[in-house]
């Protein structure tokens, strides 16, 4: 279990002192940097994906990422070099299918998810066998992050951030009313492709740490939480990023203190935030 590996490592670090040891343990710092970057990107993109009802695309792409990582590891290839192009292709494919192909969006995602998972497990079983590395692909681990991962993550996340800011107004217009956007001459196909590419990059970068099965929660939760109260797109976008960062920091701290897996800890904090904001909305609505 990756959690066991993580716990073993964490047992060397006394409770709470772990928080202050972030800067002495390289892997903790790497996890912090990658986690923060991915949380922000995922939250920004999440608002659009949730509103366009594409939230499950993130989940599907996470599974694709697992498949590609498993295959890359089995054949000794560089994980990111395989994962990124394949996940990008899968993102374009899923988006195209969701835009009214013969197979409906949710069925297409289920098809791609299950197939990728099956291919990944098949290849792993036939080669290295199910080991902790495979487990860490599924549930995430900060121990696997290398310095190169950090450099790649930060660079890719910066690309996502810059493109998101440059396309922000267009992403809003397309999310709100794609028919109108198309009618006014906006190349909606191009913008959808850009969006798919940004999501794929974020998933690939975040998957190693959060796990293939959990990465989509970073996309879905902050947006859903803030949408309980936010009434303007800008407010929701900014607050999603803020909530994502806070949830990550809290979840990561929880992981360090209790030796729990970082991915799951962050998701649990995100879930708690969602429940809190959901209840707040209910209370405000009633009053």
């Amino acid at each position: 279990m990756p959690s066991a590996a993580f716990r073993t490592n964490m047992m060397k670090v006394p409770m709470f002192e772990a928080l202050f040891d972030i800067f002495s343990y390289g892997f903790l710092l790497r996890g912090l940097i990658v986690g923060l970057m991915v949380s922000i990107c995922a939250a920004l993109l999440g608002v659009t994906l949730v509103l366009k009802r594409f939230a499950m695309i993130g989940d599907g792409l996470g599974h694709v990422g697992f498949g590609t990582l498993a295959v890359a590891t089995a054949f000794g290839w560089a994980p990111l070099a395989v994962s990124l192009p394949v996940t990008l292709l899968a993102a374009f494919f899923l988006l195209r299918l969701s835009e009214g192909g013969r197979i409906k969006g949710d069925a297409a995602i289920a098809l791609v998810s299950a197939s990728s998972l099956a291919i990944g497990i098949f290849v792993v079983s036939a080669t290295t066998g199910m080991n902790t590395e495979v487990d860490s692909f599924l549930f995430g681990s900060i121990l696997t992050l290398t310095n190169l991962d950090v450099v790649m993550s930060v660079s890719l996340c910066l690309v996502v951030l810059v493109l998101f800011i440059l396309f922000y107004n267009r992403i809003f217009a397309m999310t709100f009313d794609e028919n109108f956007a198309k009618a006014t001459g906006m190349p909606t196909g191009l913008y959808n492709t850009v969006l798919a590419a940004l999501v794929a990059i974020t998933i690939v970068v975040g998957m190693r740490m959060m796990g293939a099965l959990l990465i989509s929660s970073l996309i879905i939760f902050p947006a859903l939480s803030v949408m309980q109260l936010g009434k303007s797109y800008l407010t929701v976008t900014i607050w999603s990023a803020v909530i994502a960062v806070l949830s990550f920091l809290l979840g990561y701290s929880l992981a360090l203190i209790f030796g729990t897996p970082a991915g799951a800890s962050v998701v649990i904090i995100n879930l708690a935030t969602f429940i809190l904001l959901y209840l707040t909305r209910r209370v405000l609505h009633k009053s």
Partner: protein, 257 residues
Amino acid sequence: MNALLTLESASFTYGDKTAVEGLDFSLMPQDYLCVVGDNGSGKSTLLSGILRLKQPHTGRLSYNETLHRNQIGYLPQQHHVQGNFPASVLEVVLSGRLGHKGPAPFYTKHDRALAREALTLVGAGDLEQEWFGGLSGGQSQRVLIARALATAPDGLKLLILDEPMNGLDPHARTLLYELIRFLNTERGITVIMVTHDVNTAMHFCNRILLLATRQVFFGAPDEFESTELGREFIRDACGGNCAICGFSHKHDEGPHV
């Protein structure tokens, strides 16, 4: 005066199928055209053609050379925005500016001024900071018309509305008809409106186009009413019960607006 828009024996396809054919009519500046017909008669396909999203399969569709693409405003068929979609009214109206901004990523002060001007024109200036999802049906249609108006920096010349009255209560319909009439008569905007509410619409428009996968009738409302075909269509549209069109009027009288 030159026509703003001319269709000559035009047809449009939807996939492999001909959606509408035999389109042969011209619109003059400041015309108010109502496009009527049953579901699947080719109304929305015609709009796609006029919006240049579809090329005519056969025939010709030509525009007056003074009509630029950014002078055509569009109100799509009311889409069901998710109840909790987080968007302020100003954000929605500003998005009308995007189609013609080129690669510039951000709104300028000029864009904001145009958006506010458009909101004021439709009588929704005070809604600027409101949550779009919290507006009534009539208010949200006004805001979407403001978004269409905001597309043209030098004034809109053609406004295309796809079933704008759907889902509105009679009072909201009356107000919206008044707004469209104001934009048509006072602002000189040519209007093309797809509608099922033929009984009320024909009291406002000066041209009717009846489609049934082909052009069945094009002309003035009184000509339409004087034909057996027109009378039958009007009768069918109401089903003999004017509660459907939302106004308590008899067929031979004007609406109580």
